[in-house]
Symmetry: C2
Subunit: 415 residues, 2 copies
């Protein structure tokens, strides 16, 4: 009979205690950082939310130019060889982020969203999370393996405090790093940091919104198959979104090189284009578009082409050189498309919006498990989980090996 | 600019449609199979649930002998080279199960649980699922890769219909196949089959039990840290359970070889030992012990050593050569231990029982993600998920690289 391995037990206990302490402290620091950012963001967007159309068309190009100047001169100051990217930090930089440029992305996001650029708020939060975590890792002189985990848990803590979904945020942070694999050894740091960051953000007064889905009757196989079909549709919607973003970015680089445009002028041009487009596209699709998402989740009818408007505006915003997150737009696109196409399938619009939201995130970010848990945390309840899960996985397959994050590694093929 | 890849989109659509059809049919067949088994099991256990103690002490050795004879002569008839194991089917047998012996394990489980042996009901269900799925795969002449997936989805469908938790069951079936990895390409077949199997089981009148946890106040970091500590304790509880099962099985083989015991006599001896033990251990710990689990989840006080009694009885039952599942006992052990130790930490006993249940499953089976989703499906609600997740992951780490399934592959180290 083998002897009982007390050493492994001691090692595991030490690991758990280590991460309870380390990730709680890191999570609390990150929660403070993201709360500061979110309050700054809300301050800016509240000021510019209801400006008249003529002012909005002026704000967009001005915001674009400011953004362009900030990013251009900001990153010139970054003389090191580290990339300011969470994927690079985990996959190639051994958990190191450039610390001098930590404020550039958050400020750029506030300018982008404040001036009406169509983007998300979670990108800067995960960036703040990774940067602060990397700083903690360097301050404590952690070895490479621990630094990797602490940066991954920083990304998770950032996501956790954006939407008030600590578990989904934590698992998103782990799952997004590579396609087709969840690193189980990252999970404890991620969840502990996510919980701490979420709690600290509540204490700092960050508001979170949860949604009550209509009570569903007992399980129905028909409804399950319908929601899975809706997942397929939302997977294609996500694919369209990813292609829009990718192609616009490609075109933007191509134009810049072809006509030798001074880089800060590119987002200025993007801002002009956005200003022209909102003469026909409703201004709801600018900025975070959270009120649009809330209306979709409340069951209001949504247009079939809503997802195209949002995809187009986000693609131009991000592609031309504004800066912002690309997960919040997935929420909006998913809720709008899910609500619209649920109508086509004879489903409840609120359930459709919830299924759409989670499916588009599952597909565009390649994070099916985080998406299912996001459904649980945002919408509560047990009965809906099976519908959300079937749709999310179907959508995740439909998008193939594309990703909204070109830097995402492929760990395992989907087919 | 790269051209849009229509072929990949078509392949993915075909994949999704293929699995919607294939996994729904397979899941429905499996749901019928497991429902038949579960009704047979409930018929037997209802007859023997409240027998007087003297009769129970007789039933146990008789059940042991019957079990021994069935398994001994049953597997002699299995002349092929395929092992009757879900792990072997997926990991080494390219998705093939021996079909001639499909009834042995279900009948053995009914004898085991009907005579009072302490074990679970999900093992035979996952076995039925894998066997029927393998038969479908062979009937449709699927290639190796598809046969693998269909057998994995059979395991999932089996689990889904045991506890009425389609998503947790589906993901358990995928996660249990290897430590540290969830195969994303197995997820869609698993979830579709799980939903179909669950729905068919409801139609066949299989009863399921869900639990209402007390409403928790807003998120509390203190409670999160307390539940994580409870997870650490439950990880050690799971470790004790796994060691009991492993060591008893080892001792049983050792005794059988040392004294050249005729194999069918081993469970007879196990039955005698169990009959002696229930003179001091309450009979609640025999069989499935679901009423004990229900009482723990309803907030009734539980003894600190309850998990030891259950672990001991299960270890003797399984180790001596009865047959039954080993996940239901994890539920019972977890709920009893969680409730008892919650008291020690000044936590609500019902929350403790729920956290304990999911943590012990996460640890003993190495399935942290399925365990979290099991918490969602059994207990509903969003606010509790973060507590359950922290505890489940901590427990999963504490048990180290042990597993209740010695055949589980190690995909990635935990540390």
């Amino acid at each position: 009979m083998r002897r009982f391995d007390f050493i492994e037990l001691a090692v595991m206990l030490a690991t758990v205690v280590q991460w309870l302490v380390l990730a709680t402290i890191t999570g609390a620091i990150i929660g403070t950082g993201t709360s500061l950012f979110l309050h700054g963001l809300f301050f800016a967007t509240d000021r510019t939310a209801d400006v008249p159309l003529w002012l909005q068309t002026l704000l967009l190009p001005v915001g674009g130019l400011l953004n362009g100047l900030l990013l251009y001169y900001g990153y010139r100051a970054n003389t090191g060889d580290l990339k300011d990217s969470i994927f690079a930090a985990v996959n190639t930089q051994s958990g190191r982020m450039p610390f001098r440029t930590i404020l550039i992305k958050p400020i750029a996001a506030i300018i982008t969203l404040g001036s009406g650029g169509s983007a998300g708020k979670e990108g800067p939060c995960s960036h703040i999370g990774a940067s602060l975590a990397s700083a903690v890792g360097q301050a404590l002189r952690l070895n490479t393996e621990l630094r990797l985990r602490i940066v991954a848990c920083g990304v998770s803590a950032g996501f956790a405090s954006v939407f008030g979904t600590p578990i989904a945020g934590a698992i998103y942070g782990v799952e997004v790093l590579a396609i087709g694999r969840v690193r189980h050894d990252f999970l404890l740091p991620a969840i502990v940091a996510g919980a701490a960051s979420y709690h600290v953000s509540i204490l700092w007064g960050v508001p979170y919104q949860y949604y009550q889905l209509p009570a569903l009757p007992g399980f129905s196989e028909t409804l399950f198959l319908k929601t899975t079909v809706l997942g397929v549709i939302c997977g294609i919607v996500a694919l369209v979104f990813v292609e829009f973003v990718y192609r616009t970015a490609w075109l933007s680089v191509h134009l810049r090189n072809r006509f030798k445009v001074w880089p800060p002028l590119m987002p200025l041009g993007g801002g002009v284009l956005l200003a022209l487009l909102i003469l026909i596209i409703p201004t709801d699709y600018l900025g975070l578009s959270l009120s649009l998402m809330d209306r979709a989740l409340a069951g209001e009818p949504m247009p079939y082409f809503g997802f195209l408007w949002k995809s187009l505006l986000v693609a131009i915003t991000i592609g031309s050189g504004f800066y912002g997150g690309i997960v919040t737009p997935q929420f909006v696109i998913g809720a709008v498309a899910g609500s619209a196409f649920a109508h086509l399938l004879g489903m409840d619009a609120m359930l459709g919006a919830a299924v759409g939201l989670t499916s588009v995130v599952a597909a565009a970010s390649n994070t099916p498990i985080a998406a299912v848990l996001m459904g649980v945390e945002l919408f509560g309840g047990s009965i809906g989980t099976v519908y959300i899960a079937g749709a999310a996985i179907a959508a995740y397959l439909m998008i193939g090996h594309r990703s909204i994050y070109p830097e995402q590694r492929l760990a395992y093929s989907k087919s």
